[in-house]
Symmetry: C2
Subunit: 285 residues, 2 copies
């Protein structure tokens, strides 16, 4: 599991290993508070942090409970840092009373936005992530199901409606990138593995060739690919550095010959790859 | 496709339909800027917005290009609103010169955080989403593959290592929620459909029964379920209100009898469901 909630030590932490306690407090899922808070904390790589997310704080009572917890930690381990996206003024006042460094990620910007628009914000909770938009919900559901059906070249059904077809040798990151594009942007994404059978050839594999203008290629470094494949099949030809070097060279040649845009996944996160693909696809749509 | 980039009208928009142009400008993927910016915009439901995301602005030249585009829109359509998460001071200065309302989502908070920590931030770009943490990348890849393998009860392999097993009647939102938990939190999530064959019974289906303490149930409203099923198989028994009512009642009874926590997906987004599940699973882990 990726660290969302790291358990909080109850006793005092010895000075030489003292870490700073960080809270993400939200009236909704806590995702925004975590995303922005972590982006800010990343600027202090030398500091150790102990993180805890407290979502769904949408009552005064809930806010008081949070303050009690924070004050307890503060007394034992020093003033925590609290990133909050709670919107209601009554709750923000309660949280502001905690013995902590409060960084309010929304309230100040809301005032800026009110000024920019010349309007007063309507105070409603959790609007953004609410399912309200049923169409968006359906689009994501359809997109995820499409992605599962079309993972690893498993299906040719309805390939013509794909928004993007990701092609790459095995283990270059096709599947997580496909799934992220589906969930985050509701895109219909198929992915197709490039295997030895697809070479030697000058053109794209015949299933995807008709959709060349929607293809996007992935590559990586031979060392990284060998490492990842080794996890799956240790000491095999499949995971050997020679085979990985060969497959990546062939794939990159194929992308270039067919003017398929591609990127190297070895230094990029799934979010970054998705943003690059989205940008590359736009002018061609 | 879910609106990320709505094309920008080049001519002036007639006054009665005038919408406000909004930019999300980032030195990385733009996801943080979009998430926070949209959360803020949601407080002004009466205003129409035309959104455009410009990611990967990490050079002075890139920043100047953004300013040129914004100034062009401003001249034709009024001052846009610009949400920015660009970190480098040199680039922020350039962007601040645009003829727009600039809302800087990070810089001010970074100063607050520097003060709270008594440290100066190290100025590096795009740290947060960087793949840097190879382990996180592997964890997500494994989690997404596990989710695909175990979607809709397709596999019983390695069910014992699942972090969460989502159970629900068909079309209650199991698959997108599973995928979100895998991608966002790196959790190993299986999901299992409750069908007529699982009833009548007092216990959980036998494949999932050994993992009762990791089960989480979904339900929805009969009307919503009927609506969603109707999309797949119109005018079938499967999508009839009677059948949906029956299946949901049975499922909820099953959850209650077996003390499986559950939630109603009809009013919740995938993000909200995932946050609730994560919270419910924690004390039981």
């Amino acid at each position: 599991m990726i660290d969302r909630d790291v358990p909080i030590a109850t006793g005092a932490i010895p000075a030489q290993t003292a870490k700073r306690h960080v809270y993400f407090v939200s009236d909704s899922t806590g995702i925004t508070a975590e995303t922005v808070g972590n982006a800010l904390l990343a600027n202090f790589p030398a500091v150790g942090f102990i993180r805890r997310t407290i979502p769904f704080i949408d009552t005064v009572e809930g806010a008081h409970n949070v303050v009690r917890e924070i004050d307890g930690v503060s007394a034992a381990n020093g003033r925590p840092i609290v990133f909050t996206t709670v919107k209601a003024a009554a709750l923000r006042e309660v949280i502001a009373g905690a013995d902590a460094e409060i960084i309010d990620l929304l309230a100040g910007h809301l005032i800026e936005l009110e000024r920019a628009l010349g309007l007063t914000a309507s105070e409603q909770l959790g609007q953004f992530h609410s399912v309200g938009n049923v169409e968006r919900y359906f689009a994501r559901m359809r997109a995820v199901e499409y992605a599962i059906e079309h993972d690893d070249g498993q299906s040719r059904r309805a390939l013509d409606i794909a928004d993007v077809v990701i092609i790459a040798p095995s283990r270059c990151g096709k599947t997580p990138t496909t799934m992220y594009l589906a969930l985050q942007y509701g895109l219909l994404v198929a992915n197709y593995p490039l295997t030895d059978e697809d070479f030697p050839t000058d053109g794209l594999p015949k299933w995807v060739a008709p959709y060349a203008n929607r293809c996007f290629g992935l590559t990586t470094t031979p060392l990284r690919l060998s490492q990842v494949r080794h996890e799956r099949r240790p000491n095999s030809t499949y995971s050997s550095l020679e085979q990985c070097t060969l497959e990546l060279r062939r794939a990159e040649d194929l992308y270039r010959r067919n003017r398929v845009p591609f990127l190297n996944s070895s230094t990029k996160s799934v979010e970054e790859m998705s943003a690059v693909i989205l940008q590359a696809m736009r002018p061609r749509a």
